[in-house]
Symmetry: C2
């Protein structure tokens, strides 16, 4: 399996990306292909004594900067590591065949590029960003986490199929419970979008729609797939992250704030580490762009080596789970 | 100061309500007026050996049940404790004068009733539910937390004034930072509602508008007043609650899950209690209905005595802070 990684996406590129790729190449049994300026990749690896053994380089002359407009990716910035990775995944301009692309770069550009180059699966109106997030029990998938600020009920219907397929085939959740994020559980809750989407989801035979969910129940494991428009989904994703930071900060202060703190932390250490691990977004990989005709993973912009490693692990799981084929089959049904 | 409390609102009425009122009457120097069926209030107090000394009873024949349609409050359910409290606050059918009303009953009915009976402040198009919520530092106000699923930019502009006035006059925040919840910080982010509201808020001279805020920054203390439509605000409010439960549950499991747990908890206990207190919505009182021409506080439906006590404390702070008059002055400016 060949997974292309954008060596120049995100705040900590290229060093942390290369470190994550090294770990993935060593531990996951996948071939990692580094997209970016060849000289810089080699110089960074050399300087940091990182071996590139077993990894290919997909040369690209430049880097897509965060301040660029997403829509320019295939015009002015067609020679960037992100554009090169997407084109290679789509089989453009190369003989080799690749299985997935991972980038911690601009979300907007990745979405535009993936849609235009790798293209959408036939029958999907818009691709969605699917975020895999923790609960007290097993993780759940939230989509759309921010690709489409404004959505139609039909789009939410597609998202339900995409998310359900991901939960089943990649996370291994049996008969995933799909819920619509709403301001109450009753059928008539929400605005016209939610009411129309409710009726549509209820009528779908190939998903396990359990009705509306209030945001309170999401972190407590109330559903396996949470469906929302991209604006609401983005608020949920980011609030999750902020609340995690707040609590982890509070926990840290708890133990380090007093002279007895270290003493207190000692017996609690295994549990603390478990809680921290459970709440750490880096453990969950990135956010797959679902609805795209190929495996494309958006890693968090501030990804370090661990986050990149898990995003590559997730890409591998998507390929092995046959996510793209499964979505195609689901759309036919 | 006379504060009317709906003795029959919420999941734990009437006993927990009476207990909270007893504590408030003893500790806050306010006169508590209990709205509800007089016989039942007296019977509950007697059975539980609770003194009603110094408290008045505002008799109402029946109780507004959660399953009733909110709009029926002034028609079929005009004789309920909630309707009686609102009418007394508005000075209808009584000679006495009251300063505030607190209820843990149906949010929808309280909003409809307050709007029709106590009425809106002239110039305010729609009242908003303002939730006071914790951050790592001082609390912030979120509005609208659920009164209006669909909003116009003009409404969001009013909410900014309402929330800003509350933060200044009740929470004591100097020059409160008002932010618009959005999916990015740039001016052009969000849909038409956010873009229009941004322009409107930027042009307002009497609020300290700091621009868009991403949900990630809210719990970290990024603003003092968070403005959102009622759908988004409701998602934020409820996710806050759910995340709090998740973390507190995790923390509990941490210490109680192992034989060494109790030992670990001992030195950390003061810090743990502080963190728990900081995250406990009950400490923050209820949610004032801002824009109403009187002080009306919606307490959490599952309020216990502590939550009711804090909601009464908050009602007192609203009266003392002259919130209604301050909003009127702000609207004139």
């Amino acid at each position: 399996m060949k997974i292309i990684v954008d060596a120049f996406g995100g705040d900590n590129a290229p060093l942390e990306i290369l470190r994550g790729c090294r770990r993935a190449a060593d531990k996951l049994g996948v071939s990692v292909v580094l997209a970016g300026p060849e000289d810089e990749i080699k110089a960074c690896a050399k300087e940091n004594k990182l071996s590139l053994e077993g990894m290919e380089i997909l040369h690209a002359a430049s880097i897509f900067q965060m301040e660029y407009e997403p829509v320019t990716i295939l015009r002015e910035h067609n020679d960037t590591s992100m554009a090169a990775g997407l084109k290679a995944l789509a089989g453009q301009g190369c003989d080799a065949s690749y299985d997935a692309f991972v980038s911690a770069g601009s979300t907007g550009a990745l979405l535009v590029g993936a849609t235009l180059v790798v293209k959408r699966i036939r029958g999907v109106r818009r691709a969605a960003i699917a975020a895999v997030m923790p609960t007290g029990e097993r993780p759940f998938v939230l989509l759309d986490a921010g690709a489409n600020s404004e959505c139609t009920a039909e789009m939410l219907g597609h998202f339900a199929l995409l998310g359900s397929t991901y939960a089943r085939h990649v996370l291994g959740t049996q008969n995933p419970r799909v819920a619509l994020v709403n301001n109450g559980t009753e059928e008539n809750k929400g605005g016209p979008l939610q009411q129309e989407a409710y009726a549509l989801l209820k009528a779908k035979a190939n998903i396990n729609f359990i009705g509306n969910i209030e945001a309170r129940e999401i972190p407590l494991g109330g559903c396996d797939v949470a469906i929302a428009d991209g604006f609401t989904g983005n608020v949920i994703l980011k609030l999750y992250e902020g609340m995690g930071k707040l609590f982890m900060g509070g926990l840290k202060g708890l133990f380090l704030g007093s002279p007895m703190g270290w003493l207190a932390a000692l017996p609690a250490a295994p549990g603390l580490l478990k809680l921290k691990k459970q709440m750490d977004y880096k453990e969950y990989g990135g956010a797959p762009l679902l609805g795209i005709n190929g495996v494309v993973i958006k890693a968090h912009g501030s990804s370090d080596a661990k986050a990149i490693f898990h995003a590559i692990r997730q890409a591998k799981a998507c390929v092995e789970g046959g996510i793209v084929e499964s979505i195609k089959e689901g759309l036919k049904a």
